[in-house]
Symmetry: C2
Subunit: 267 residues, 2 copies
Amino acid sequence: MNVLIVYAHPQPRSLNGALRDFAVQHLEAAGHHVQVSDLYAMQWKTTIDEHDAPQRNPAEPFHASLDSKQAFLDGTQRDDIAREQEKLRWADTVIFQFPLWWFSMPAIMKGWFDRVYAYGFAYGVGEHSNAHWGDRYGEGSLSGKRAMLVVTTGGWDSHYSARGINGPIDDILFPIQHGMLFYPGFDVLPPFVTYRSSRVDAEAFAKITRDLGKRLDTLATTAPIPYRHQNHGDYEIPALTLKDEIATGLTGYAAHVAHVAHVAHVA
Amino acid sequence: MNVLIVYAHPQPRSLNGALRDFAVQHLEAAGHHVQVSDLYAMQWKTTIDEHDAPQRNPAEPFHASLDSKQAFLDGTQRDDIAREQEKLRWADTVIFQFPLWWFSMPAIMKGWFDRVYAYGFAYGVGEHSNAHWGDRYGEGSLSGKRAMLVVTTGGWDSHYSARGINGPIDDILFPIQHGMLFYPGFDVLPPFVTYRSSRVDAEAFAKITRDLGKRLDTLATTAPIPYRHQNHGDYEIPALTLKDEIATGLTGYAAHVAHVAHVAHVA
């Protein structure tokens, strides 16, 4: 398959650099085609601004959303944005790899989403009516593709546990996994998280790469997180609240994950 | 008091621009001193990289965290970073104003946190032992100061409600409010959120500014969100999980907010 790795770390000689190199080699050895968007190496333009819509009328105030829509429709986007969109079209699976800085992605990767996710490409797609609120949250331009986060963090796993002080890692990643990846249609695989990143010795690194290797070997078969589809009946439209009979009594992020019924197998 | 507004929006002729102008005028009319860090107007350097630690040894690999620590200690940080830290020291209250893009702040503001929050300034402060895990989450360089988010979003309030598809707004903002603001010591006031930002007409704008004006008038007296302090006995150290007798049975973000007991008043 075709795998795109969108990668944000300033230093190739780092744990992240080593994991990126491992992933590329492992995937290519298995016969996959790999492209890497190494945002620091590309000197990725991080901030969306009026230069991203070169053909716009400069007499009008710049509008990040509407000008990105027009540039996308007209084919006048900056080349760097169009190239990343083309890589996304090419990819079957996209891996987003980054260190968790301040409980989110580095600014350079946030700027990748802010700029590459143009209106008409990643949002504002499909009919908006009282029966269908756009092709999003399970539908969209990137549906049929898979995505996975590969994240490192300096904190301990207990700090990110159900009662850990930072909040549960699944909740911290929800706005990314559900809000940035499921939103335009990706199937989102469980994340691959490495804790205490500054304390990884050779033994720990060997275990991490073994585990990551298994995840890379099963990219096509791992079950995605079963986020609920927006337009398949679970939500009121246009309020986009869960219907009373869905996840009754539950609030918050967990209510948007469908618990898959266990299937009894006869041996 | 001294109020710093850290502001990220590319277009002055916008709802955000109008709210920013309103806030400055309202605060100054009340006798406060106001500074604005208008990140787009400043052409804020968004991406942390080796140029942020000019005195480092270029033969060694750049390390975002350790090099920021050394530059902070040595007084060799870039001027733009040092200036923002000085504004933070000056401020009694800091307002962070931005449009919610992809369920987080614009990249340019994330880059403000990535760069201004140096090791030794906003984290890595204080003793780390089995009784005290650094001055953070309620203690730290910015303790005694107040912070408040002013956020606009295109979605409806129902989309961000307890059972709304985007997730509850308080959960989306938790990594910012708790992870970026409470962490280095800020007292965090409830956020001021405007929904359906593209549909604000003159009547709605009048109501929004009335409400925002009230929040600005009460910056010094509004009760902060009662996040639990890390080092005051609620958490096991160093696991940093809540002790069994604290918020028993609760998991997730809500467990880190102390519910204030009601005090009975005798009339």
